[in-house]
Symmetry: C2
Subunit: 378 residues, 2 copies
Amino acid sequence: MRKLRLFSPGPTMVPPEVTAAMAGPFDHHRTAAHRAIFREVTENLQYVFQTSASVCIVTGSGTAAMESAIVGVGAPNSKALVLCGGKFGERWAKVCKSYRINHVAHQMEWGTAPSGELVAELLAKDSAIDTVIVTHCETSTAAAADLQAIAEVTRRRDCLLVVDGITSVGALPVRMDEWGVDVVVTSSQKALMTPPGLGFVAVSERAWKRIDSFASPALYLCLKAYRQGFPTQDHPYTPAITLLRGLQVALRMMREEGMENIWRRTATLARATRAAVEAMGLRVFARNPSDSLTAVLLPEGFDEPTFRRRLREEYGILVAGGQDQLKGRIFRINHMGYVDATDTLGAIAAFEMLLSDMGHSFPLGAGVAAAMQAAKES
Amino acid sequence: MRKLRLFSPGPTMVPPEVTAAMAGPFDHHRTAAHRAIFREVTENLQYVFQTSASVCIVTGSGTAAMESAIVGVGAPNSKALVLCGGKFGERWAKVCKSYRINHVAHQMEWGTAPSGELVAELLAKDSAIDTVIVTHCETSTAAAADLQAIAEVTRRRDCLLVVDGITSVGALPVRMDEWGVDVVVTSSQKALMTPPGLGFVAVSERAWKRIDSFASPALYLCLKAYRQGFPTQDHPYTPAITLLRGLQVALRMMREEGMENIWRRTATLARATRAAVEAMGLRVFARNPSDSLTAVLLPEGFDEPTFRRRLREEYGILVAGGQDQLKGRIFRINHMGYVDATDTLGAIAAFEMLLSDMGHSFPLGAGVAAAMQAAKES
């Protein structure tokens, strides 16, 4: 028997209801039947983003969606501050570089995340900055920024705030309208419980003004073409219809559970996992740990490749390793989407079994016990 | 009972084997298991493109894939000739415009397609042109270009030839290596029998030289990042895993049938349909009709919206209408991918029933009879 559980922070596990919907017959995208799906999906995305702004649906990865946002607000006379605390922050600086968008990349130690104070300080130093690009949760380090505090700062300064919410929207609290965030991006394969292939870009009226102020240097990733989809419900290019069918079902499930309940469930799993990590004598990597995933620092010299291989082969659990400078030093476990306490406690037990077998010394059962205690107290 | 048949030229019908594969469990994309799928899919795409060149797999629509090709070869000192005989040719000129790629757009009458002579003539007039962008089959008009003759001309001149093969690859004969075509693009939802969401770009060594000669103005659609996938089998960004699972099965089916047999089947369906159109007293719109789809010109003043609505509601057949200047004047029926003679004869019978009911006068049964005769003679 082979049973594989995706504990990777994207792609995450997909509910069988979603899978079934994707396997059903589908209609052409320029029909009333499809438009009804598009309308429902768009409205439920607004609920997930907690916004009344238009949400653009782009066929592509999260990177594609984030690139459309950055290029959209990167007007010739604008200047962006890009906060880089990991692989993805660095990628957004690369997007600016590719399109020759005037920007300054602020490098931060991996595992830390920007605060409102930091952003205020950086803005005070450079009055030309009119755009802030921040990664809410940096997937590569599992650190989360204080988005609400940063939004307060950017609102005061009248800066556009563009948020990579790929590993946050639908998992961490994000209240786009209430907090005054201008652009929020996410993708299908994280908290939205749908396979990869769709990106989503929520765009405020303030951001549209910027986007409309200049000719886009790109065609496929020009958001203007996607705005027509709201509220007229039409796609500019052939969309990934089967993924939209799956998304429709996933969003219904999210709406039924309710955002606050989802945020609470996600936070509980993260708290339980962090408690387990400490109890197993390991450390959480991030100094500002996110609730959407946890990065676990392995003991110096620990055989990480064997750990992940055996976790998969013997326990049916796939976790993500470290990227770039964190390769071999951490592993990452997901708390977003279709994952619950039973899944997570099972995974922690598997970590315990294997860590113990590989010579890491701690009281067997301590991890699961600590996790249960933390979950109970949540 | 509701039974809907997609006779639209994309999305086309999807085999149940493909649907089933997309509904199965899937693995993370950075694993040996996924790499094996990626390798198999890439090799079978090479077979479909009839090339030994690397084939890049981009998550996105056909437009995204075509944009990556145009931007890739659009070096700062290059000049492109874009042949525009319909909506899609015009879109490729728009891509050039967005990225400020030096180009000249040659407008042609809709329904006609470029010949080798025309391209030779246009190249002779402008020695600065080093890139030709041609739409093999223009989906909006159902006209097909003589790709082999055009490739002969561009090879002589040492021009790069970039081909929109979205409505051709896997349906019309395309022999990329033998004909000396430099870049060929297609997407999943046409002859490749897979739902929309994936684009494919086959890139010759000559084209890679151009692509490598300058910094890309885009990130997500920069082909350089996708080349690493060949032969190391890794995606630069999270790919649409479920669609790749479906594609794997679709390509196995294509390989089993064999490209020549597929081309023959497609041509037979087209020939039968054209014969039926004439026999029903209608006309094929394109002066250079493609075998991948047929555009049927309706009688002056015919109520096209009602025709398409009733075709769907009463006969379960979805055909595409006309786009832009052809809106209301034509309907388009697909011959690509998972469609056979029985499907097509059934559709023709439905056209007959409805045309007759809507007052178009012709001998009932003439269309199907002519189609059968044409199919028999093929």
